[in-house]
Symmetry: C2
Subunit: 237 residues, 2 copies
């Protein structure tokens, strides 16, 4: 019984793997144009169809983009946050991840993000954060408030200067703007949020990670209690 046969690598897979490696290693720098299809055909001895399938895989993986016409071709890309976002998006949809789980995930990230922001923020971060916070306190419209709130959080996440957490947070954060949870921002709730966020901001400005973490965590827990008191747990995306 052949329990383990060596999987035969297809021609297009070989080429895709080869080009992928060259792009990820930087041998083909981002922005460079790959050889055109017909050249790849003669270089690798594959048919044009196989070459195109290889390139199509790379495109689906976010490693190249395609331009039509003369001076077109495939442009090498460094994989960015879009890939992470797309894969999480499909994971959430495919696995039927419930909305509360998504919320729980973001809540799990935010205290650490606040701590890292306090540790790593630079002057630009502080300026952006202050601008977001100031804007937030002037907004009265509930829907606009939620958007501005999300923006403040996003800015804080970026201040962490942790590329992985930023990619994850940017992937998940926007999903929390679901219209079904947009009704919570009554005037007093908004005031409480502004206050809590201001306290976190102070800790980030002061460069006190543990204070920022603690304040953000309390804010998050308070927010959760609020949402749970209003929304049924069964809401699904």
């Amino acid at each position: 019984m052949d329990t383990e046969v060596t999987r035969v690598e297809k021609g297009f897979e070989t080429l895709a793997a080869l080009l992928r490696e060259q792009i990820l290693r930087g041998d083909i720098p981002a922005g460079d144009i790959l050889p055109n299809e017909r050249d790849l055909v003669s270089q690798f001895g594959l048919s044009r169809g196989s070459v195109r399938e290889a390139l199509r895989v790379l495109e689906a993986q976010g490693l190249v983009s395609t331009r039509l016409g003369r001076n077109g071709g495939r442009v090498a890309l460094q994989p960015g946050t879009e890939m992470v976002r797309d894969s999480l998006e499909m994971f959430i949809r495919g696995q039927r991840v419930a909305f509360p789980v998504l919320m729980e995930t973001v809540e799990a990230l935010e205290p650490s993000l606040a701590a890292l922001a306090a540790e790593h923020r630079d002057d630009d971060d502080l300026a952006s954060l202050h601008a977001c916070g100031a804007r937030l306190s002037r907004i009265s419209n509930a829907k606009a408030f939620l958007a501005a709130n999300a923006r403040w959080h996003r800015t804080m996440a970026h201040a962490s200067h942790n590329a992985i957490l930023i990619a994850i947070y940017d992937s998940l954060g926007p999903r929390l703007l679901d219209p079904r949870v947009a009704g919570f921002a009554s005037a007093d709730v908004r005031a409480a949020v502004v206050h809590a966020i201001g306290r976190v901001e102070e800790a980030i400005i002061a460069g006190e990670p543990e204070t920022a973490r603690r304040r953000m965590q309390r804010h998050v827990q308070a927010y959760r209690r609020l949402v749970e008191s209003v929304a049924p747990k069964t809401v699904r995306l």
Copy 2:
């Protein structure tokens, strides 16, 4: 100047989008066989080459797998953790994310994972966790200790019952087993780790999220100080 032209959707893109939607919505349940290439050709009026490119895209996105031979074909898949892992893998490689950032990310997740584990763990989780902890305390080999340690953490992450965090943690955790950081597990370090982990485990068993969070966070910070005292910050993956 045409600043915004309506991007023309290619034939294979249309088909890929259509099939992707059917799979994600569950109209084509996981495990089902898609129509074969020649049938898709006649159903959608595309050439076989275009159909194959569409299917190749879905394969790259983890939505179908391909089997050769009679009774072969494309099997629909629900996107799982592999996709998330692959995209994070490419992100880390392509963006040249430094090892300390990776470590920082995992450290950011673990306290919340511990808290969620304490909140959501079931009897199976407790049994697995206890087994991992017990095994850990009996290991003397440094390399094996690190592997068992990773396994305990992974088990704890699964006890959180948060599918997104599990997917992320499973994607990043294994990368911390880099051989370059495998030399830290001296006997007294191992004893300290076993003790810290035991305390977290107690809190998870007791169902006390905030205690578990606090203890895990202290452990993580202690571990970080240890690593920083030994490893240069410039180590890169």
